[in-house]
């Protein structure tokens, strides 16, 4: 099981690093038990296939807007920013799936769901959160939820 978690974790971190066009500093991963409270924007993607779970990318709107500007040179807000949040989740999760395939795990991903505001993600036994520092742009958090 530890090998599987390491493969997922490394694929998620490598996927993020190859998608974002600026340096990222990955903080120490930590275990999350049963629930994850958040007050920000998040994109949730389901992972199916050899490994099953959910992937979330969480950040303030301003961080996602800054990512959009650095990747596509566009200043986004409102519905178009929400759409970008879904798309960046799809791109990071898709790149993670590609990295996992190099480790011999075949997975597929679902279309994204975007969550906003104060909420609590629950209904899981364990998850791993990885804070990622994007310098002056702020911080993003990767949340990897594992299904048994």
């Amino acid at each position: 099981m530890n090998e599987v978690i390491t493969a997922i974790l490394n694929s998620a971190i490598e996927g993020s690093a190859s998608v974002f066009p600026f340096p990222l500093t990955t903080q120490k991963p930590s275990l999350v038990k049963t629930s994850f409270p958040m007050n920000a924007t998040a994109v949730l993607i389901g992972v199916t296939g050899d490994l099953r779970g959910r992937f979330l990318l969480v950040a303030e709107d301003s961080v996602f807007a800054s990512v959009a500007e650095s990747m596509y040179g566009m200043t986004l807000s409102g519905e178009m920013l929400n759409s970008f949040v879904g798309e960046i989740g799809n791109i990071v999760a898709g790149t993670m799936a590609t990295k996992l395939s190099l480790r011999k795990f075949r997975v597929d991903i679902t279309p994204p769901t975007v969550l906003s505001g104060s909420t609590t993600i629950s209904g899981f036994k364990s998850a791993i959160q990885v804070p990622v520092d994007a310098g002056e742009r702020g911080q993003l958090t990767l949340l990897l939820i594992f299904e048994e």
């Binding site: 986004l76 178009m80 798309e87 999760a93 799936a97 590609t98 991903i109 679902t110 279309p111």
Partner: protein, 119 residues
């Protein structure tokens, strides 16, 4: 200049692709947010080329490529997806896609693929 149908579930990505294609002198004649709408719009619009996402609700991009190719075996379709693993690329090509562009992409890469497929 080609008439292009852009298929992606994200409005942001459709907007971005439209801007890139327009900059390259192409005309986006239609947009679709899932595979089912894509097959329907292909029949209506008969575009010269289609850009096709893979992960979409209702019907995914691979299913949409099969649907379009069953209507028009000569259809020219370029996949534009973040799912760049080898078996996904092979599935897309086997379904009938002519090229595969992995997200995130830039304008140069998209236009080069369109030019290659248009021959």
């Amino acid at each position: 200049m080609a008439k292009v149908l852009v298929v992606d579930d994200a409005a942001f990505m459709r907007m971005t692709l439209k801007a890139m294609l327009t900059n390259g002198g192409h005309e986006v004649v239609g947009e679709a947010e899932n595979g089912l709408v894509a097959v329907k719009k292909y029949q209506e619009l008969l575009p010269d080329i289609v850009t096709m996402d893979i992960t979409m609700p209702e019907l995914d991009g691979i299913g949409a490529v099969r649907g379009i190719k069953s209507i028009d075996p000569g259809a020219r379709i370029v996949m534009c997806s973040a799912m760049g693993q080898q078996d996904m690329v092979i599935s897309a090509i086997q379904a009938g896609a002519r090229d595969f562009v992995v997200k995130p992409f830039n304008e140069e890469r998209v236009l080069a693929s369109i030019a290659k497929v248009l021959g």
